[in-house]
């Protein structure tokens, strides 16, 4: 173990490591949501008419919708009129130019976590590809990407510069009528990421955007759209931390992925937003709609996620396997502790022939947390020779936490093959005994076993993320052991 238990302990007894709020003057709309708010957002962003139309349609649809209640989570209802729907930093010059300008205490925390310098730059908001609050301030590596023909920019920029692509793809995977939060997002989204990888191009680097929630009482409504054209490949990383505060913050993001013929998209997330205090006060409400459309034959989309943060997580990264021979994958580790609640999983909709999907979900629940896997595998009549394997494992630490598994399986093709397995247990006394007999402390033994439990998923993460994910896991486990 890199960081000693003592240090980690101190870290956890203290504050949420990323709980700082940068004081920057922001251009913020007054709280409240009506048609005027949407017109204002659209106007501030200088959007073309088609976008405003789309937003208004979404808003009209949203007003007729009700908050979904089917998820296994409990919280006080959100007052959508108490949220400010737009906040943009006035000047990007206020951001730290280098690590020297970052609060040394935070740097120390990063060091304790063993985060490499590169990573620290990113975490501290130095690297300029960050979504800083709601407007992308800048994007790195633009030139190198441009040479390869890859478009990687903020979605507001894309709306201005690539209207044809936007008109064709925006909302084509997650329509503005899809669900309550997706409709809300379509109406009020402020920014996000746009990626277009042209035909036959293998994106020369891992793309990543760093999300931060910064202005108090500002909901974040990110919208991400990634299009991989025929025969292309792209890997995208997304990670989150948020400053500590008392008021619940709503995050309702939408991510749309489109993979055309022979294209492959890998999407990885490490989510570590503020989970609230011991009693569950504060903390982020993370209601996200993520969906990938394997539109072309032999296309491939894989979702990998590490969910440790947020008071409530409501997130089902899904794949629509439309093209023949397309492949969908979902690898997830969800850690809940304290009073965190996570209801997460995936949907694999098999429409094309010879489509394959794999689901590996690992849930770890500690304290008084609720961890739920909810998934759907559907094999339609046309999906000949569809194949799915699902593995959901839950680990329980402590006798007041809970783990649930709610898979839905719908098969209407006689050539489909599907296996689903789920297990729930605690760490075996015999396993612990074995490790302790070899000289490990109980905590170290638990870390080791839990890391082993999650390994299958971490293997799918890009290297940089895998390191962070493992550290994060250990930190999250702290206090849950013994």
């Amino acid at each position: 173990m890199g960081a000693s238990t003592h240090e980690l302990d101190a870290l956890l007894q203290g504050k949420y490591p990323a709980g700082f709020s940068t004081d920057i003057e922001t251009d913020t709309l007054a709280p409240g949501l009506d048609e005027q708010t949407i017109r204002a957002i659209s106007a501030k962003k200088n959007e073309p008419a088609y976008m405003l139309d789309w937003r208004l349609k979404a808003y009209a649809h949203w007003t007729g919708m009700e908050t979904p209640t089917w998820a296994h989570v409990h919280y006080t209802p959100i007052d959508y009129q108490a949220i400010s729907y737009y906040a943009a930093p006035k000047s990007s010059a206020d951001r730290p130019g280098s690590l020297d300008e970052v609060d040394p205490e935070i740097l120390e925390t990063y060091n304790k976590l063993g985060i490499p310098l590169e990573e620290q730059n990113r975490l501290a908001g130095v690297a300029v590809d960050a979504v800083f609050d709601s407007v992308s301030v800048a994007t790195t590596f633009r030139q190198q990407l441009a040479d390869a023909g890859v478009i990687f920019c903020s979605i507001s920029e894309a709306i201005q510069q690539y209207p044809e692509l936007l008109k064709q793809y925006l909302g084509s995977v997650v329509s503005y009528t899809d669900n309550f939060y997706a409709s809300l997002n379509a109406a009020v989204f402020t920014d996000g990421t746009f990626v277009y990888v042209p035909k036959g191009v293998r994106c020369p680097m891992e793309l990543s955007t760093y999300f931060r929630i910064n202005t108090e009482k500002t909901g974040q409504f990110e919208r991400t759209l990634i299009i991989a054209d025929e025969g292309s490949y792209v890997s995208y990383l997304e990670g989150c931390t948020a400053p500590m505060r008392d008021e619940n913050q709503l995050h309702a993001a939408v991510v749309e992925l489109v993979a055309l013929e022979d294209a492959q998209i890998k999407y990885a997330t490490v989510q570590n937003w503020y989970p609230g205090d011991e009693e569950g006060r504060g903390g982020i409400y993370n209601f996200v709609t993520k969906r990938g459309d394997c539109r072309g034959d032999r296309s491939h989309i894989s979702w990998t996620q590490m969910e440790t943060g947020s008071a409530i997580t409501w997130k089902y990264p899904s794949c629509i396997l439309r093209g023949d021979d397309s492949v969908g994958e979902f690898y997830s580790v969800a850690v809940t502790r304290g009073r965190q609640q996570a209801d997460t999983g995936t949907k694999m909709i098999h429409l094309g022939r010879n489509t394959r999907s794999t689901i590996v979900s690992k849930g770890i629940s500690a304290g008084r947390a609720q961890n739920t896997y909810r998934g759907l595998v559907r094999m339609s009549r046309r999906a000949d020779n569809a194949r799915n394997h699902t593995q959901c494992d839950s680990l329980l630490l402590g006798d007041r936490c809970a783990a649930h598994t709610f898979p839905y399986i719908e098969v209407s093709n006689p050539s489909a093959k599907l296996e689903h397995e789920a297990t729930t247990s605690k760490i075996g006394e015999d396993q612990l005994f074995y490790c302790r007999q070899r000289g490990l402390s109980e905590e170290e033994a638990v870390y080791m076993i839990v890391n082993g439990f999650c390994k299958e998923v971490f293997n799918e993460l890009p290297m940089e993320f895998a390191v962070e994910a493992q550290k994060l896991l250990n930190v999250s486990m702290e206090g849950a052991v013994g």
């Binding site: 006798d399 709610f406 397995e421």
Partner: protein, 444 residues
């Protein structure tokens, strides 16, 4: 009819009408139960596909028929008619119920050992009022399921199986539920109670069959209560005609060290739904449930298994195997709930399906809801086909394709079949399945 048929109104009227009818026995506690159920029924509406519990099993097909309670009826069956019923020929204690009403003339209950009581519900109301007052309707207190409410409000007859403490019965008990001889659109609402005293041991076979092609609806509620150390082997065989609709609930309550082993074979009905609810009241109880379902063209079979571990150290196992053909549809919803403090729970659920023909559909929802940490829980499900290699092998040995399929299907279900402890039941079910497969594979 001048007014368009509206299911909910029809059933509400049927309920009001039924409540007026005298059942020939009356107790304040029973009337209260009926009233509670009736008032809930009147204030609710029928579930739709939007209700989570009914997501995959639409009831429109059921509701289009204006079913009415059958009330009194005269059995037209004679022993001669049952001569070819293999099950009826078993060396067992037989209670035959025609259209939900016990028929003493057809039943064979002579020589019951002391302490064993098998009788119709009406008779039981006279003979064992205290037992019924203490046990009937004690499971599923918060009943909201519409069809069960209908049963709770309107049931008139059914049967009681009461085995006193430490009695061991030498032969199986057969409850033979037959529907016959009535015109279309009647519903039957039998209510059964099975009580095994401490240390009692019995094998119970519940069979649902029909002798005619009339369209009818069986709504059966069976409550089972096992006291300390009681052991019950329970077989349910549902082989009704393709014109019947079947809705049944088994509500099981187990005391310490009791053991329940259930096997459910479902082949018949146009539409059927079986809800199996088990609750452990005390520690160290064991509940094993197995099932086989074969679903053919136009059939829908729905299984809801709900196991609640409220106390520590109990074991539950569910294993269901299904074969689907034609445009058949199967639904399997298995829910295992482990409450806080129900430590040392051991619960496993498995559901495997063979999907053999285009147009068949299976919807599975295995759920684990766990609030305790020292538990071993799992579920596994799979959907697959017959392996071409295996079919080829059998064909190369001289079997034709139908025989090969039949053999592989039997092999698939044999794992469950072999758990039948009563040899006679295993043989009966084995031959039943063989006949069914022969029929199913002969047209294809």
């Amino acid at each position: 009819m001048s007014v368009a048929y509206e299911p909910i109104r029809h059933y509400r009227e049927a309920l009001a009408q039924g409540l007026k009818g005298s059942s020939g026995y009356s107790y304040p506690w029973l009337e209260k139960q009926r009233q509670v159920a009736a008032s809930r029924f009147l204030h609710q509406s029928f579930p739709t596909r939007k209700d989570e519990d009914w997501r995959y099993s639409g009831i429109d097909r059921v509701l289009v028929h204006p079913f009415l309670p059958a009330g009194e009826n005269v059995s037209t069956l004679t022993e001669e008619d049952l001569r070819h019923d293999v099950l009826y020929q078993l060396d067992a204690y037989h209670l035959v119920l025609i259209n939900g009403i016990p028929v003493p003339a057809l039943s064979r209950l002579d020589g019951l050992p002391a302490g064993v009581h098998i009788m119709g519900m009406r008779e039981a109301m006279v003979q064992f009022p205290d037992l019924l007052a203490a046990r009937l309707g004690k499971t599923g207190q918060d009943e909201t399921q519409m069809f069960m409410l209908l049963n709770r409000a309107l049931f008139d007859d059914g049967c009681l199986v009461y085995i006193e403490a430490d009695c061991v019965i030498d032969k199986p008990i057969v409850l033979n539920h037959l529907t016959t001889g009535l015109p279309d659109n009647y519903m039957f609402l039998p209510r059964n109670l099975v009580v095994l005293g401490a240390g009692a041991n019995a094998a119970l076979i519940e069979r649902f069959g029909s002798t005619g092609p009339s369209t009818c609806f069986n709504i059966v509620l069976t409550e089972i209560s096992l006291e300390h150390g009681a052991v019950l082997d329970h077989y349910r065989i549902q082989e009704e005609s393709r014109h019947t609709f079947h809705m049944s609930r088994v509500s099981l309550q187990q005391a310490a060290r009791s053991r329940y082993e259930g096997t459910s074979i479902t082949l018949g009905s146009a539409w059927s739904r079986t809800e199996f609810n088990a609750r452990f009241d005390e520690q160290d109880a064991v509940c094993l449930t197995n099932g086989i379902y074969v679903v053919d063209d136009g059939q829908l079979m729905d299984f809801h298994v709900d196991i609640e571990h409220a106390v520590p150290s109990c074991v539950s196992r569910e294993r269901f195997k299904g074969i689907l053909l034609g445009k058949g549809r199967a639904v399997f919803d298995g829910h295992v709930k482990v409450l806080q403090d129900a430590q040392q729970t051991d619960a496993h659920l498995s559901n495997t399906n063979l999907l053999l023909e285009p147009g068949a559909e299976v919807d599975i929802k295995p759920q684990l809801e766990i609030y305790a940490d020292d538990v071993k829980c799992s579920h596994g499900t799979s959907i697959a086909q017959l392996e071409p290699e295996q079919l080829f092998y059998l064909q190369s040995r001289g079997l034709d394709i139908k025989q090969a399929k039949q053999m592989l299907c039997l092999g698939f279900v044999s794992e469950v079949l072999e758990t039948c402890k009563a040899q006679v039941v295993m043989e009966y079910v084995g031959s039943l399945l063989q006949r069914e497969f022969l029929k199913l594979f002969s047209d294809g």
